[in-house]
């Protein structure tokens, strides 16, 4: 066996893990690693313009595929800049490995140049982290990092490597697999509990299925679709779970929650048996847990993470396990037994749901001279035939994208649901674009969010990423403005943005194509132009939209799901 430096070991481990892209930014503490990177061409490095974007892009790559995203940053500010990206991935359980440089072992604790306690700073927002103080532990630690990141409930893992460790030499040995006595994620669900769940589902008069990001992460969309169709029950997917069940299917009730549909929220509230899968009863989904719990119903909860079960809402049938495994078992039990759901009760339940649906809560009024943001998303859906990967930032545009773009497949909708990080949209699109060079990649954003990572237009140029940026520009921090209008007496404190850049010229300055659209009739032609004439270019379309448009329906914070504010038109 040949001796290798720590830096060479790092790169070799990435190769062993079949990592294609590393997003990063060089600096003093990682120079040895960058030198090792230079001497090979298997792992490609994507030079971002800010470390936050490196982690977001790695995270976006992971969300759009089933791979672990990898970021590489230097010590001190490199690591602290990465923290927002790490926390974002943590809140949505995304498998990411972040390798950070650290000052040499001898310097640790001496307030050395670009020193910070990376392991300490990131501890509360990682699944796990390591400080590797010895080159002999390096390969095994990286193996553990990838294993932990992508098993059980996935999440980010930080590996902090002092500079001297990357220079030291040792023999390279990479284990095929790994066993940890302190970490053994459960896969198979408890059969007795699954039987109980199936029994409850078959007895239900008003059943409802509610699924979250866990179904996407576990690649359980196919099993879910089979189960839902088999049972004929209504289903809702959360913001993180969109695409797990085809949105164009009649059994799909739309998204639940704060900006969910009337039919999804009322079905959640009035069902007698709720099957929750890979979801966590988040405050933005069920509103006030006291209101949610006040309705008598049986809840079945399938999740890989026991701590998600009965955390906010007490559950009747907990099932800890990997989603596809549990759903396969449910399907098997349904096939084995002769029992079918109560058809008569189900028909009556659907009748009730259809009456809620008839309210058409997503209806909005188009204006003659002003572009409605919802209209842009509807046209985007048409022009891309629903086949794009859509990333978003955070705010009103995110909700409109989730409401009006119908996702029929998993891993097509990429957004920061948990942490709600503005600025993720463009780097997410970069990660997705590298992973899926043949798919249209769209970033739906607003003039507030896009400016939080605007520097990445430069990265997108360097690596020729043909992202289509849909900027819903209403000159307001729209979601803040909406809350101020509704709950703060229309006192628009610091939510109006003055002195915006000319986004068309800004895009051009970075070497991209910029288009401004100010009239409704120009929306569709501009989109067509972007997706056909400029298929291979990054196109920044600045849509000047209605300033007063609000996201409806809305459940105010702290209210129950049935307490919805509908659009003025209803």
């Amino acid at each position: 066996m040949t001796m290798m430096t720590g830096a060479e070991i790092v790169i070799r481990c990435l190769q062993e893990e079949k990592v294609e892209y590393v997003f990063g930014y060089p600096g003093g503490a990682v120079l040895h690693i960058y030198d090792a990177l230079f001497k090979q061409d298997q792992v490609k490095h994507i030079l971002v313009r800010h470390e936050q974007a490196a982690v977001h892009a790695a995270d976006g790559l992971a969300r759009s595929s089933n791979k672990v995203g990898v970021a590489l940053v230097t010590s001190g500010p490199g690591a602290t800049n990465a923290v927002t990206g790490i926390a974002t991935a943590y809140m949505d359980s995304i498998p990411v490995v972040v390798i950070s440089g650290q000052v040499p072992n001898d310097y640790i604790g001496q307030d050395a140049f670009q020193e910070c306690d990376t392991v300490g700073i990131t501890r509360p927002c990682v699944k796990h982290n390591f400080l590797v103080n010895d080159v002999h532990k390096l390969a095994l630690t990286l193996k553990k990092a990838f294993y932990i990141a992508n098993s059980g409930r996935p999440g980010p893992v930080v590996v902090d490597i002092p500079k001297d460790v990357t220079a030291a030499k040792c023999k390279f040995e990479y284990p095929e697999s790994i066993q940890m006595r302190s970490y053994n994620p459960v896969v198979k669900g408890h059969l007795g509990q699954i039987k109980k769940a199936v029994h409850l589902l078959l007895e239900a008069k008003r059943p409802m299925i509610y699924t979250g990001g866990g179904v996407i992460l576990a690649n359980g969309a196919e099993q879910l679709t089979r189960l839902v169709r088999r049972l004929g029950f209504p289903i809702t997917n959360t913001l993180m779970g969109l695409g797990a069940y085809p949105a164009t299917d009649p059994q799909f009730l739309g998204m639940p929650g704060m900006h969910g549909t009337v039919e999804a929220n009322l079905a959640m509230q009035h069902c007698d048996v709720l099957l929750a899968i890979g979801a966590r009863f988040d405050d933005r989904v069920i509103g006030n847990p006291d209101n949610f719990a006040s309705i008598p119903r049986k809840i079945i909860h399938v999740d890989i993470d026991p701590s998600s079960i009965s955390k906010r809402v007490k559950v009747d049938v907990p099932i800890v396990g990997n989603v596809p495994d549990v759903l396969d078992e449910m399907l098997r039990l349904l096939d084995a037994g002769n029992a079918a759901p109560d058809a008569q009760a189900l028909a009556a339940w659907w009748h009730e749901i259809d009456a809620w649906r008839a309210k058409q809560c997503m209806k909005y009024t188009r204006k003659k001279n002003v572009i409605m943001p919802q209209y842009v998303i509807e046209k985007l859906y048409e022009v891309t035939a629903g086949k794009a990967i859509v990333t978003s930032d955070v705010g009103q545009h995110q909700m409109w994208a989730a409401q009006y773009y119908k996702f029929d497949e998993p891993r097509r909708w990429i957004n920061s649901g948990g942490l709600g990080t503005m600025g993720v949209g463009l780097p997410y699109a970069m990660g997705a674009a590298l992973q899926h060079p043949d798919m249209p990649i769209v970033c739906v954003t607003g003039e507030g969010s896009i400016q939080m990572c605007i520097q990445e237009l430069s990265t997108a140029k360097q690596f020729r990423l043909p992202i289509k940026i849909i900027n819903l520009n209403n000159r307001y921090l729209g979601m803040v403005r909406q809350w101020q209008e509704m709950f703060y007496g229309s006192r628009y404190s610091e939510s109006y943005m003055d002195s915006l850049p000319d986004f068309v010229r800004l895009a051009e300055a970075y070497g991209h194509v910029g288009i401004r659209v100010e009239r409704p009739e120009d929306v569709e032609p501009a989109l067509r132009k972007a997706f056909t004439d400029h298929k291979d270019d990054l196109v920044f379309i600045d849509f000047i939209t209605d300033q007063k448009a609000n996201v409806f329906p809305m459940v105010a914070a702290g209210k129950g799901l049935a307490d919805m504010i509908l659009t003025e038109d209803l």
């Binding site: 392991v119 300490g120 501890r123 509360p124 699944k127 796990h128 400080l131 932990i148 940890m180 006595r181 302190s182 970490y183 993470d305 026991p306 701590s307 009965s310 955390k311 007490k314």
Partner: protein, 163 residues
């Protein structure tokens, strides 16, 4: 409700701060915390005394189990167990107090382990509640310093926490 939670965890740098950080991040309460290596030096045994409703304690044990360095978690107070805490208490011991303090230490099965003309250090091992009673039994004006280790505990009989 007061609970004594025993944890077996990897004896790794930072493992303790993962546990302590979890409690502060999720606003759980720590009354006492003790930690030391076991007979197997790769393992640490950590004991936390906490209070909370059943739902909170359930979340605490689930969240602890989720930490990668944590191998096993047991709520000792769920069944028969023994708890002990060590206290060293320095008291002003002059005049007739010397005799009285000696008597009190004997009643509580404590030992006087340091004697000067004006002070005693009394060592006492008992349950947390018993240590509290001892402190209450002494004239507060005589107490110079109190050091307590925090509670450690073990299950009775065949109730064993091991890898």
């Amino acid at each position: 409700m007061r609970h004594i939670i025993s944890i077996l965890l990897e004896n790794e740098a930072g493992a303790l701060s993962r546990v302590a950080g979890l409690f502060s991040a999720r606003a759980y309460n720590i009354e006492t915390l003790t930690v030391a290596p076991t007979e197997d030096v790769s393992l640490s045994r950590l004991t936390i005394v906490t209070t909370g409703t059943d739902a909170v304690i359930e979340q605490i044990t689930k969240q602890l189990n989720k930490l990668i360095d944590v191998i096993k978690v047991v709520d000792l107070s769920e069944a028969a167990h023994i708890e002990r805490e060590l206290m060293l208490i320095k008291v002003r011991a002059t005049g007739k107090d010397r005799e009285e303090l000696k008597r009190l230490a004997d009643i509580f099965r404590g030992h006087i382990i340091d004697v000067t003309e004006s002070t005693y250090v009394i060592e006492l091992t008992a349950s947390g509640a018993k240590l509290d009673s001892f402190i209450q039994a002494i004239d507060a004006g005589l107490i110079l310093e109190t050091v307590r280790t925090g509670v450690c505990g073990i299950g009775r009989g065949e109730r064993i926490l091991k890898v």
